[in-house]
């Protein structure tokens, strides 16, 4: 089943004369882990806003489970607001500092449900007593777990993760990525994973779309795009990304010389 269908999507910001998306088309199938990589200004964030119907396109269409969502008014987007959830980069910016975790995670449910919250906290690896605490009492990685628990509360079918580990330390990053991977399995989610970091996308996704200046320049299975990139820009990105494995191989090679 096609979960998300994007056709000829365009977004211009007339006042600033910016053409943020220039005719982007792709499908995300149910159960896929779909990565979107690109640098700043590539249109990733604009695309996320359109996928979540937080913005309207200038042209083109976005369909969710076969229904067009691109020009629906907010009052008719209720189904999408529970079916599609987003986890953002900076958990401190997306969690209300004055709310307890119980209320934060319950919020998408519309009422306080301690049992459901306890279940979700366990699923994201937080202790049960976390429910009574405030966001500032947690580390960055734990806060991101809270955001994930909240996103899962309404039982979504699609989870969009927008640079979810970019603000985290390396040792925590791996844990959150592994958590996302296991939750996708456990809750049969479709994952749309947006990042500037090619290594992270490779770790998490099975499909990947490479964006540059509002265009989708390459789309394919992760193994193909990373091992046999077709577009020059993809090659440039892959070469520019620091590669620990290659550096270690070079250092090890130096031992023989």
């Amino acid at each position: 089943m096609t979960m998300i269908e994007v056709r000829d999507l365009e977004r211009r910001y007339a006042r600033r004369d910016v053409h943020a998306l220039r005719g982007v088309s792709f499908d995300v199938e149910a159960g896929q882990r779909f990565g979107i990589v690109g640098e700043s200004g590539s249109g990733k964030s604009t695309l996320v806003r359109l996928l979540a119907a937080l913005d309207k396109p200038t042209a083109g269409t976005v369909s969710f489970q076969g229904r067009r969502i691109d020009h629906l008014p907010e009052r008719r987007l209720g189904f999408l607001r529970s079916e599609l959830q987003i986890v953002f980069q900076d958990p401190m910016g997306s969690l209300d500092p004055r709310m307890r975790v119980l209320d934060i995670v319950s919020e998408p449910l519309g009422r306080r449900e301690p049992d459901r919250v306890a279940e979700l906290l366990a699923a994201v690896g937080l202790p049960a007593d976390a429910a009574g605490r405030y966001p500032h009492q947690f580390s960055g990685g734990q806060r991101q777990r809270i955001s994930i628990a909240r996103a899962l509360a309404p039982n979504p079918s699609v989870l969009i993760a927008d640079e979810p580990v970019s603000a985290l330390d390396v040792s925590v990053r791996g844990q959150i990525l592994d958590l996302l991977g296991s939750l996708v399995e456990q809750f049969a989610l479709t994952l749309v994973f947006v990042s500037h970091d090619l290594g992270v996308v490779r770790h998490v996704c099975d499909r990947v779309a490479v964006m540059r200046r509002g265009e989708l320049v390459e789309l394919g299975d992760v193994a193909q795009v990373y091992d046999a990139p077709r577009h020059g820009y993809t090659r440039e990105l892959l070469e520019a990304a620091p590669n620990l494995r290659a550096e270690l191989a070079r250092l090890r090679g130096g031992e023989d010389a």
């Binding site: 390396v170 090619l198 520019a240 250092l251």
Partner: protein, 243 residues
């Protein structure tokens, strides 16, 4: 020795940190947030906030920097000591054309630098009349680098200079650091990215909770780590191995 740090202590946040950097040596300082790497750099530059006094010794070419007057320190900064921070926008004066900013360090010793030459050297010809907001993040970081290199400093400290930049721009800045730093200048390069440290530095110091827990050649530390924490960092950084 260009820089000798001995028994450096900053409150409880940096404890008993000692290391040397010789002329022309490129040394990496790695660790996660809160490990004390930035405080160590600020202590060397004499830029710690007043409520955080440093003790121990920091000497540059044998001159003690801790306790040096602000006047003498500011003379050293931008001349013998230069620093590049993570966020170039806060390091630049938003109301001054970049051509004027890059020649500022030159006035310290009355050296006359031509802005165009300095900007050319970092791949920014013809931008002298631009203001910082008219440049991209990568271009701004090059301006900062041009300022830092203007007087051929004996010690350049880079604190996560590419963390806020796109990967293709990061590659350009790293190659600039490697190629434009004078051969006799010492480099202290702070980063959380092991791949970056491996490509830039020949020696590396690993910091955890305010202390240096491992030090050695980049090859030794990254291919035969002795400390458990270094091993943990390496495992966490190698995402490919986790698939």
């Amino acid at each position: 020795m260009t820089l000798s740090v001995t028994g450096l202590r900053v409150g409880d946040l940096v404890r008993n940190v000692s290391f040397d950097i010789g002329a022309g040596e490129r040394v990496g300082l790695i660790g996660e947030s809160g490990s004390g790497k930035s405080l160590t750099a600020l202590a060397v530059m004499g830029l710690l906030p007043e409520e955080l006094p440093a003790s121990g010794s920091v000497s540059l070419h044998g001159r003690e920097l801790l306790g040096m007057s602000e006047k003498d320190l500011s003379r050293l900064r931008g001349d013998e000591l230069a620093m590049v921070f993570q966020e170039p926008m806060t390091a630049l004066n938003p109301a001054m054309r970049v051509g004027r900013q890059v020649t500022e360090p030159g006035r310290i010793r009355g050296r006359r630098h031509r802005a165009e030459e300095l900007l050319d050297a970092v791949g920014l010809p013809g931008t002298a009349r631009a203001y910082p907001h008219q440049l991209s993040g990568g271009q701004r970081q090059r301006v900062v680098l041009a300022m830092a290199l203007a007087n051929e400093p004996s010690l350049l400290i880079c604190d996560e200079p590419t963390t806020a930049l796109d990967v293709t721009v990061q590659a350009q800045i790293l190659s600039l650091v490697k190629t434009s730093l004078p051969a006799e200048s010492a480099l202290l390069f702070i980063t959380h990215d092991l791949a970056v440290v491996a490509s830039v530095c020949e020696r590396v110091l690993v910091m955890l909770d305010g202390e240096i827990v491992e030090a050695g050649s980049t090859r030794e530390v990254l291919t035969q780590p002795k400390h458990e924490y270094t091993r943990k960092l390496l495992d966490a950084s190698d995402l490919e191995a986790r698939r």
